[in-house]
């Protein structure tokens, strides 16, 4: 970033990254209301729901844990832990992806690790420059961490009295946000084939596997195509990130 005389001038890329952070972050953070309500409905108290959002901070894992506890109670504690941890495994892959943009420093990496989730990874890796990747990661992580915990508390307190958040179309907004992040990546044949293959795998497995696992299974398409470099082009094409259309105005 360039430091001007009076104020910090943001590059267009960084500004676009921050706008993406708000668009994705606010839509996703609103889901904390449904998590808080579901957690209380599953038998957790308000504190337990809030500790999950503060400490675990991974939506898929949290929904999985609460879902298993809702049906099996504490007797299903082992299964609840296993499904949450299994769903959290993809965060290790995300951490590998975002670690180079975070840089050294133990405290910074601890906080970055805590905030390494689907959305912060997706927003940051979709940005074209290192500065905008960093901005995308920290803004998305901060917006969702604050928003997710506040809405978890709200959801837990008011239970399901607010009704279904889907009434406001927030579930569709989250899907559209993921689509917007994927869109600029589909300029070459290889990622298009991987996207279609992953979508098919997720759709086929969705009715038979527990929530979250179809997404994990879909990454096998990326591993298979990535290791063989099937339909691949020169490495330089892949190393250089495409400019992000989200930043074009």
């Amino acid at each position: 970033m360039t430091h001007g005389a009076g104020r910090v001038a943001r590059s267009p890329e960084v500004s676009a990254a921050i706008r993406s952070s708000f668009a994705v972050g606010l839509a996703v953070a609103a889901y904390g209301i449904s998590f808080g309500a579901l957690a209380v409905a599953a038998g957790l108290d308000v504190w337990q729901a809030c500790v999950l959002s503060l400490l675990m901070f991974s939506g898929g894992s949290q929904f999985a844990l609460v879902g298993v506890l809702a049906t099996g109670g504490t007797a299903a504690g082992g299964a609840a832990i296993a499904s949450a941890v299994l769903l959290g495994a993809r965060n290790s892959l995300y951490a590998l992806r975002v670690a180079p943009m975070i840089g050294p420093g133990v405290a910074k990496r601890l906080l970055a690790g805590h905030w390494t989730i689907d959305e912060s990874t997706a927003v940051s890796t979709a940005q074209p420059t290192l500065a905008s990747q960093r901005a995308g990661f920290w803004w998305t992580g901060a917006i969702i961490y604050v928003g997710w915990n506040v809405t978890t508390l709200m959801g837990a307190l008011i239970g399901d009295q607010l009704g279904d958040v889907s009434q406001y179309g927030l579930d569709a907004a989250a899907a559209a946000a993921f689509l917007g992040l994927l869109w600029p990546r589909l300029k070459q044949l290889q990622p298009i084939v991987v996207a279609v293959g992953a979508a098919v795998v997720a759709a086929v497995l969705m009715p038979v596997l527990p929530a979250g696992l179809p997404v994990l299974a879909a990454t096998l398409v990326a591993v298979a195509v990535g290791l063989t470099n099937w339909l691949g082009t020169r490495e330089s094409d892949l190393a250089e990130a495409e400019p992000d259309p989200m930043g074009e105005r």
Partner: protein
């Protein structure tokens, strides 16, 4: 196990998995195969998340107001409409269909 045990064990394990990814050497991410894998992993995850977020339900699979909303979003992205406008439009389409049906 009490509910607190379950919550704390699972939370610490999930947090540890996130931090484990940061202990892998940075040089790894510079290798062409790793960079390609990481790029394609992002593509596959986003594609799968779109499907799950659009069609997923407690029963596994459900076609509802989300599908036309995402279709509208795809058209708007193709027309290069700004991100935030597309997101709001998708929410309005889904909310509108649900209000009318």
């Amino acid at each position: 196990m009490t509910v607190w045990h379950i919550i704390l064990i699972a939370s610490i394990a999930v947090l540890a998995l996130k931090l484990a990814g940061f202990t892998i050497p940075a040089a790894w991410a510079e290798k062409p195969t790793v960079a390609r894998l990481a790029n394609l992993l992002t593509v596959s995850l986003l594609a799968a998340l779109i499907v799950v977020q659009t069609l997923g339900s407690a029963r596994g699979f459900d076609v509802d107001a989300r599908l036309p909303a995402v279709a509208v979003a795809a058209v708007l992205f193709a027309l290069r409409v700004p991100f935030i406008v597309v997101i709001i439009a998708a929410a309005l389409v889904a909310a509108g269909i649900r209000a009318l049906t």
